[in-house]
Symmetry: C2
Subunit: 420 residues, 2 copies
């Protein structure tokens, strides 16, 4: 029989006892940020559990990692501590275990209804990197920008292409996104366009949260890379296509991306995702030795994008994709990032790049869905080429287990007008 919690969890909840994703929350308006774990419709307050001495394993019993305002210290401790915390929490929450179940006062303190809390960024993000690891997305973008002959550049099959993004503008799900102003390509005139972006887009991504990380000058071996990934979140890499198109040569995306990046509040651990591991696509040409891993795996995470257009009250499904479509794995991304000695720090974020699948309805951004505005997307009567002010974009991600789900909740944001 499957593991079950004394906390009632709906069968379609993203947060059963098999998941236990980590976040940071405030239980009420005046209270301080603290780590928590999602269980059904509740948040389990890890600072209260720690203060009550319930993390009694050898690695965590004397640690203050759950008395911090973010998860950076906990994720820095590495896999043995993560496993110990998970074992402790699964035991404390299980239906057979009386410690918490039968202690009404403690339960009252520790289990906070999720609809009453404020969720915050789970980690302080020192550096944020965005990869470009979906072959479908890469090919589609190449065709749109450079034409159908040779849409994927030669280097792409040899290394996980990436660029540095902006850490300061990463925001938590639910934060409004201000439409960026900026320059766009000169259209017919010699002077560039200037004004509010006319081509605001989303990008469906997931991101790894880095664990212990490495010292400057000391690369992480590909077969140890998984030990440096604490878990995953959903990520919307909002993109202004007109700004991006004009600015990106020769140094890459900048203001077309750095006005806002939204992540989901709950970090789902690799431990919780392990039952959903799948073989990664075969790579041809074979990866260079520093990227060749003993077992190359992705995770079967169903991803959906919905848009709630400004003029409607209902959501329209626009994309179904899956993390398993990634060509370059999360571990290859991390090993590549450090091969030159670059240091990763606990809490760093590594975005996968837009996750498009092979089907027309599995494309991860409007650029692909509307062929850069050449055709319209229909949303229950409304139509869009790009996002309008007031539109809300909602991502969900979920793994289907045997009788339970391991989910990511949602990652959402609403577009609001540029400042005057």
């Amino acid at each position: 029989m499957a593991l079950r919690s004394f906390v009632e969890v709906h069968p379609d909840s993203h947060f059963p006892i098999q998941n236990l994703p980590y976040g940071v929350f405030k239980p009420g308006p005046g209270s301080s940020p603290r780590p928590g774990v999602a269980i059904g419709d509740y948040v389990l307050d890890l600072s209260e559990l720690a203060s009550a001495g319930l993390f009694d394993g050898p690695l965590l019993s004397n640690s203050d990692c759950f008395l911090q305002p973010n998860l950076n210290k906990f994720v820095s401790l590495g896999r043995p501590a993560w496993k110990e915390a998970r074992a402790t929490l699964q035991k404390l929450l299980s239906a057979n275990e009386p410690t918490l179940r039968d202690n009404t006062a403690l339960k009252q303190k520790c289990l906070v209804p999720m609809n009453r809390v404020e969720l915050l960024l789970p980690v302080a993000i020192g550096d944020y990197t965005d990869f470009f690891s979906s072959l479908h997305h890469t090919r589609n973008c190449g065709i749109l920008f450079r034409g159908p002959q040779n849409p994927v550049l030669e280097n792409w099959f040899r290394l996980p292409v990436a660029y540095h993004g902006r850490a300061s503008s990463i925001v938590i799900s639910g934060t409004d996104i201000v439409r960026p102003r900026g320059q766009g390509p000169p259209a017919g005139s010699s002077t560039p366009y200037f004004g509010s972006s006319l081509k605001l887009d989303f990008e469906l991504e997931m991101a790894s949260v880095v664990g212990p990380g490495n010292e400057l000058g000391k690369p992480v071996d590909i077969n140890e890379a998984a030990d440096h990934i604490f878990g995953l979140v959903l990520m919307n890499d909002w993109s202004a296509r007109d700004i991006q198109a004009w600015e990106y040569v020769p140094l890459g995306p900048f203001l077309g991306k750095n006005f806002g990046t939204t992540i989901s509040p709950w970090i789902v651990t690799l431990e919780a995702l392990e039952p959903f591991a799948t073989d990664a696509p075969k790579q041809d040409p074979p990866p260079l030795p520093y990227l060749a891993e003993k077992a190359s795996k992705n995770y079967d995470v169903s991803l959906e994008v919905r848009i709630k257009p400004a003029e409607q009250n209902n959501l329209s499904l626009v994309t179904r994709s899956n993390l398993k479509h990634l060509y370059w794995t999360l571990t290859q991304q991390l090993a590549h990032h450090t091969v030159n000695g670059c240091n990763l720090r606990p809490g760093d974020l590594l975005g996968t790049g837009t996750i498009s699948g092979p089907e027309p309805d599995s494309l991860g951004c409007l650029l692909e869905l509307t062929m850069n505005g050449q055709k319209e997307l229909s949303l229950n009567g409304a139509t869009r080429k790009f996002l309008e002010d007031g539109d809300e974009v909602i991502f969900t991600g979920c793994c289907q287990g045997n009788g339970y789900k391991v989910g990511f909740g949602t990652c959402s944001g609403k577009v609001v007008p540029s400042p005057p």
Copy 2:
């Protein structure tokens, strides 16, 4: 008569009472990091001054900004507080003022010989951006990579091109730089090169340290941008040209840059640089309104690069350049960075890009000096196309006043071999 300190300062010192640059240091091996100001051959301990109640102005008398392990809190306070601190320090250090001059015990505590201290990164850097603002450098790179017809792309004259760099690998002057390993272009074969970089280079840059910064979604007006720049440092953006050449399309530089970036320890304030302001070059086409500033200025900072080759004990001067050569000003860089609503935080670093001048001996990197390794650079008998293990690169920067200098000290680093 010029302002003079009771601390003896050699006429060729970079750190007279007219300068007073800020840094962070440890007075001894066991002690904690604290803010300081350079004066002659001494560091003035600001934490001791603050504890003694000597910051007695209205803005700083009750502040703990000098009791922090970095300068982030101080730089966040903005120009009025910076001016008050400078006035207090110039008064306390002046030859006529007895408060510190005649207090032997306090002097003993506050003035630490610079050769005894350890200098640390002056700020915790949340995000680091690198611009590309020298027309000479841009044109030279364009000719090398795309040929002499149209070497500068159309967007370059319209906006200060930039990309996000890596904050984690920014190190303080004197830190060894480990030669990066990585992929390079396939040479004659179909398989990329893999190994230690064969084209390791320096880039002569300076960088702005951001002051108060702005909220996400709220751009900084071009004519207020100067109030968001606390001061400048020297910066060496070490670059592996083979890694960069292979990886950079289409998303820009990544592993070719993020293995190490060195900054000088002393932040020279805009107040100290003000006597050395010069008119910035006329811009044609004229900048769009959001980049058009009432007064467009650069600073006359003489920059020199020396290399100490591994096999020699002496330094060879390889470049003389000047910050005044920048096409896009520091304030235009900052305003452009925020025009889309991107938020800057106190302590963020904005690199200028390689600062090349118009002359053959004013080129800011080996890529330009050796035409990407097509010719050799002569160093007192040694020759170089790119950097060898054991080579040390030393930048200096200095403004020449009337009888005094306002200088940046040095920004240096030695190349050490890749890990096996």
